[in-house]
Amino acid sequence: MKSAVIVFPASNCDRDAAVALEQMTGRKPHMVWHQECDLPDVDLVVLPGGFSYGDYLRSGAMAGQSAVMRAVKAHAKKGGAVLGICNGFQVLTESHLLPGALMRNAGLKFVCRPVTMAVEETQNVFTRKYLHGQQVTFPVAHGDGNYFADEETLNRLEGEGRVVFRYAPGQNPNGSSRDIAGILSEKRNVLGLMPHPERVVDPLLGGTDGRGLFESLIETLS
């Protein structure tokens, strides 16, 4: 599987994503600077976590306008896989590759802790190696992870089986509507999620629950 990690000014999980990708695929991803207008030939594009442009104005808003996002949109339109983690999820909603918005956490504070979620959908390139309904624990680390969309959109997301990760009862760290932690695009090739799978691929760091996500991608995209 060939992959690229987009680097925005003040992305800060770009290295973490690259390390996890290399560890899982045996190949270094391309690191793509936000001013690039073209993407290398890759199967997967990762928008990493961090504070692109300081998350000033709104998280992900300025990154959503950067040159490289036009190329990411084109990649997605062709059916290419795009994974947005944390700030990457915010960038995906801001650039309308995913519906809804990520608002300030209901508790109004940044929250860093492990959260348990259910994998609700496995019919897609990102989660096919998990069992349907499997409980997984990833860390979250964000201040703006409160997923919001209007009722109609939420119903549609659920109706179309696009809610991939849902916080387990009592685990919702940010007030997200219907405990949503991660969603798919209509064509199921774009995934955005707030928790960090790339931080749980190494047992030394407290878990390997994130591996299934990378293994799913490798199996489908290689």
């Binding site: 109004l108 919001f148 969309a149």
Partner: protein
């Protein structure tokens, strides 16, 4: 020309920050405070001198960047 843009959450979108402020004000003894909503105000200096053109540009800025219209609405104020 100077412009002031207000970006506030749409009605119906929950505003926990506003709520927290209201709560805090009540806690400080300001009992007469009802609903509180918090938004952003952005002050811009524009070299544009034509008001209609400035307004059109500001509209464009709001749609493209300053507001996320999924959750926010905006108002534009121009001062000569």
């Amino acid at each position: 020309m100077k412009a002031r843009v207000f970006v506030t959450l749409k009605n119906g979108v929950l505003d926990p920050q506003g709520k927290a402020i209201g709560h805090a004000l009540n806690g400080l003894g300001f009992g007469a405070v009802g609903e509180v909503r918090q938004g952003k105000v952005i002050d811009l200096e524009l070299s544009e001198t034509n008001e209609a053109k400035a307004r059109a540009a500001l509209n464009d800025m709001c749609e493209k960047l300053l507001a996320n219209t999924v959750i926010e609405k905006y108002e534009i104020e121009l001062k000569a």
